[in-house]
Structures are given as structure tokens and as C-alpha cells.
């Protein structure tokens, strides 16, 4: 089965999330984390609790004093991310994004893609963690907040709020098809604007910026991967060395550049 016992995992993970922070030395803060994750698993029965969620939830509790506010922020975040955690016997939702990543690298750096594939990394599973916890393990606490804020500003869509209010937690944006009710494009984030202009969105809606962020991390390490990686283990070793060395601002700039390049190439293919 998909879920096993939600409460066992929630309990385990509450006790090992950001424990180096003074904030979580307080029992009442730990119980907030427990409450929010348990209630979320209860309202989203299809996905339940999944490891990685506590990493996504913890910053909300640190930032927002009020437990209810923190819950709703986490719930809104999960509307974007719950697809990653959804699973069947054979697959986990995040594999969708890994496939997007594969096709983007194939277009932008075919040599790197071929190399990764030869080494048995064609499924891009080595990037799994970056997607599941949105770079929280690659960045410090402060830097991940900085990165999240930039990501969400770049992806900003003024219609997002109304779609949130209309639909229950069981529907997410990608499942509804993407149909913006166009206001002034200046209200949209830079990444979103580029997507609207190129109109290359498939039925799945636009690819989230996280895919291009991971792509930029791979591009950044492209030489190293091509020259040093002789197996899947080397790929993971090289990418794990990214830990703590990732510059959030640089990664965002890199992601936007790759995105623009990708859109140009796709337009070129269509023409």
C-alpha cells in the first residue's frame, strides 16, 4: 500500500527535522509541527504523510507564530507540490518532473544527457531530493527561504489565488490544464511571463521553475560530470558536494537563462 501508517512516520520525522535549531528545543514548537503534518495527512487522504513534507513544513512554523496561519501556508504550498508525493505501486509523482528535467537537459546539453544515460542515470533519480524538499538539504535554512521566495516571485500568477479558493485540496493546478485569465502581464512573475509569451505549455501546464533550477545545478557541474563521473555513484558524489555550495541567487539567474534558451530552442523546432 501507499501510505502505511501515517502517524508513525510523522512522529519519527517531527523528532528529526531541523533539530539543530534552537527553535525546536521548545516542545510546543515540535507539537506545532506534529499537529500541522497530522492534520494535513488527514485532509489529504490520497497523499497522506510522506517523508520530505516535514522539511517543507518546518519553515512555515518558524516564520509564522500562529499555528493556523502556518497550517494554511503549508497547505497552499502542498497544492503545488503534492503531485510529487503521490504514488502508485510502480512510481512516485516526482518522476514526472524528473522526466521534464531529462527532456530539458536533452535539448540544452545533449552530450551531458547521453553521458548520464550511459552511466545508468537516465532516469535522473539522482536529482530526487532536490525536487522533494525544494533544495532544503542543499542549502542552509536561511538560504532555502531566500530561494523559495525568489522561486515563487518568479512563478507568480495573480490568478493562482482564485484557483486556490475555487478548488478543494484534491485538485492541483497541473490537473486542471493551464488557462490564464490574462490581466496585465506585468502582474506576473518573470518566469511566468516568459512561459505566457512563448505559449509552449503542454496540457500539463507549465513546468515549474524548480526543474530549471535543478537543470542549472547540472549545467554548473557539467564539466565535472563529463570528466569525472564513471558511474552512478560518481554522479551522486559530485551532486552531493553541491551541499552548502549552492548560491541561491546564482541558481535562479542560471535557471532563468536556461529557461529562455530552452524556449528559444523549442520555438526553433516548431518553426
Amino acid at each position: 500500500s501507499c501510505h502505511g501508517d501515517n502517524n508513525i512516520y510523522t512522529g519519527l520525522d517531527v523528532l528529526r527535522t531541523d533539530r539543530s535549531m534552537v527553535f525546536y528545543e521548545k516542545k510546543e514548537n515540535l507539537s506545532k509541527l506534529w499537529d500541522i503534518l497530522a492534520v494535513y495527512a488527514w485532509i489529504d487522504k490520497e497523499v497522506g504523510y510522506c517523508q520530505g513534507m516535514s522539511d517543507l513544513c518546518s519553515p512555515m512554523i518558524v516564520l509564522l507564530n500562529d499555528e493556523a496561519d502556518a497550517f494554511w501556508c503549508f497547505e497552499r504550498l502542498m497544492r503545488r507540490l503534492r503531485g510529487n508525493f503521490r504514488c502508485t505501486q510502480q512510481s512516485v509523482g516526482v518522476e514526472n518532473q524528473l522526466q521534464h528535467l531529462a527532456s530539458i537537459i536533452q535539448v540544452l546539453d545533449p552530450k551531458l544527457h547521453d553521458h548520464l544515460e550511459t552511466l545508468g542515470g537516465g532516469d535522473y533519480l539522482f536529482a530526487f531530493r532536490m525536487f522533494m524538499v525544494l533544495f532544503r538539504r542543499e542549502l542552509s535554512f536561511g538560504d532555502s527561504l531566500y530561494l523559495w521566495e525568489m522561486m515563487w516571485a518568479l512563478e507568480y500568477d495573480p490568478d493562482m489565488f482564485s484557483t486556490y479558493e475555487e478548488s478543494g485540496p484534491a485538485t492541483d493546478r497541473s490537473a486542471q490544464g493551464y488557462k490564464p485569465r490574462v490581466k496585465s502581464t506585468r502582474q506576473f512573475g518573470k518566469y511566468e511571463r516568459a512561459n505566457m509569451k512563448s505559449a509552449t505549455n503542454g496540457v500539463d501546464g507549465p513546468v515549474p521553475i524548480s526543474v530549471f533550477l535543478v537543470a542549472s545545478v547540472l549545467k554548473e557541474n557539467s564539466q565535472k560530470l563529463l570528466q569525472e563521473a564513471r558511474g552512478l555513484d560518481d554522479i551522486i558524489r559530485i551532486l552531493n558536494n553541491v551541499n552548502g555550495n549552492l548560491d541561491a541567487k546564482k541558481a535562479c539567474a542560471g535557471a532563468l537563462k536556461l529557461h529562455a534558451k530552452y524556449l528559444r530552442k523549442m520555438q526553433g523546432k516548431k518553426a
Binding site: S1, C2, H3, G4, I8, Y9, L12, D13, R16, T17, R19, S20, C50, Q51, G52, S54, D55, F85, C87, Q89, Q90, S91, V92, T118, L119, G120, G121, D123, L125, F126, F128, R129, M132, V133, R137, R230, G231, L232, D233, I236, R237, N240
Partner: protein, 206 residues
């Protein structure tokens, strides 16, 4: 100089979430314990140089996520494993009951050439907890399970206090080497060692 000895041993650690897989690996490799380890997301590995019968090996220990939901993602990481370490928590019956699942899932996903003789080692971890008073799985029960699976070696460990960890991994190294046919220990220098070439089932020519 036409051939060189195979020196990489790949070990996979499997078991339920929270039984101490990451802690065991870190206690063995870095000789330290922390109660601040986060849940493992995806897979990670550490390496350690080990000596066995006057030969040097690089032991590559793979740590995986324990939530069942992620089991399907294991294939890529299990491939080419030389030994599989199963871990349960002696204070949790469920983690013991799930050992069958982990073992079977591994054999399906890694599909070793000789599944009946593939080396497993079982570790019953957290024997330090509560002075042993909260223990629910007896040594006898664990040993009976091991016997029923073709005499899997068994160790009772504490990653926290470093009890039996070194001994367990020495046994793991020994068992990882056991199933290696003699000719597979040699590889021509000119062959580029990529991916699946170094594991099981790459039985040369013919």
C-alpha cells in the same frame, strides 16, 4: 600488469524508517553518533577503505529512504550490490515483521544472478534503548528468522554506543566478497569500468 584486482564493494542498507540505517553507517565510517540526523530522502552513500586478508577494498555503503512509498525507486541504486544489510529496531515489532518485504523487494529489484545465495546480513539495532527494557523482539526470534532464510549472519547493535558496529561491518565485508567468482576479481586495465560492469552478472565472455 594486464589485470588489476577488483577493489570496490557495494553494500546496500535497507529497513524501515527510523531503525537507524544512517546512524549505523555514520558510526561505522565516521565513528560518531548524532541525534540530529534527518530523514534520508532518496539515496546517499559513504565510502570507507577497509582491509581484508591483506587486500585493500573501498567499501561503498548505500543508505536509502525507509518509507515504503519510495521502494520502487530503489532499482537504480540496488544494482550491482555485493551484499545487502537488513536493519530492524529491536524495540519495534513492525520493523522486524517488515524484514521479509525488504528482503524480497531487494531480490526482485536488484535481481542478482544467484538469489538463493546472495549475501544478506541482519542487524538488530538500538539495543541500548531504555537499558533493553523496551525490547520486543528477542534474539531467539531474530536468529530463527535468519536460520529460515539460509543462515543469514546476525548482529545486535547500538549505533549510538558503537556496540558491535565494527564487528558487523567486518562480517559484511567478508560476505560481500564471498560470492565473487575468482575470475571476476580480475579486470583488464583497458576496459572502462562503467555502471553495471562492476557488479553481479557481468560474467565476461561466452
Amino acid at each position: 600488469m594486464a589485470s588489476r584486482r577488483r577493489t570496490l564493494l557495494k553494500v546496500i542498507i535497507l529497513g524501515d524508517s527510523g531503525v537507524g540505517k544512517t546512524s549505523l553507517m555514520n558510526q561505522y565510517v565516521n565513528k560518531k553518533f548524532s541525534n540530529q540526523y534527518k530523514a534520508t530522502i532518496g539515496a546517499d552513500f559513504l565510502t570507507k577503505e577497509v582491509q581484508f586478508e591483506d587486500r585493500l577494498f573501498t567499501l561503498q555503503i548505500w543508505d536509502t529512504a525507509g518509507q515504503e512509498r519510495f521502494q520502487s525507486l530503489g532499482v537504480a541504486f540496488y544494482r550491482g550490490a555485493d551484499c545487502c544489510v537488513l536493519v530492524y529496531d529491536v524495540n519495534s515489532m513492525k520493523s522486524f515483521d517488515n524484514l521479509n518485504n525488504w528482503r524480497e523487494e531487494f531480490l526482485i529489484q536488484a535481481s542478482p544472478s544467484d538469489p538463493d545465495n546472495f549475501p544478506f546480513v541482519l542487524l538488530g539495532n538500538k539495543v541500548d534503548v531504555d537499558g533493553g527494557n523496551s525490547r520486543v523482539v528477542s534474539e531467539k526470534k531474530a536468529k530463527a528468522w535468519c536460520a529460515s532464510k539460509g543462515n543469514i549472519p546476525y548482529f545486535e547493535t547500538s549505533a549510538k554506543d558503537g556496540i558491535n558496529v565494527e564487528e558487523a561491518f567486518q562480517c559484511i565485508v567478508k560476505n560481500a566478497l564471498k560470492n565473487e567468482p575468482e575470475e571476476e576479481l580480475y579486470m583488464p586495465d583497458t576496459v572502462d569500468v562503467v555502471g553495471g560492469n562492476r557488479g553481479q552478472g557481468s560474467s565476461g565472455c561466452c
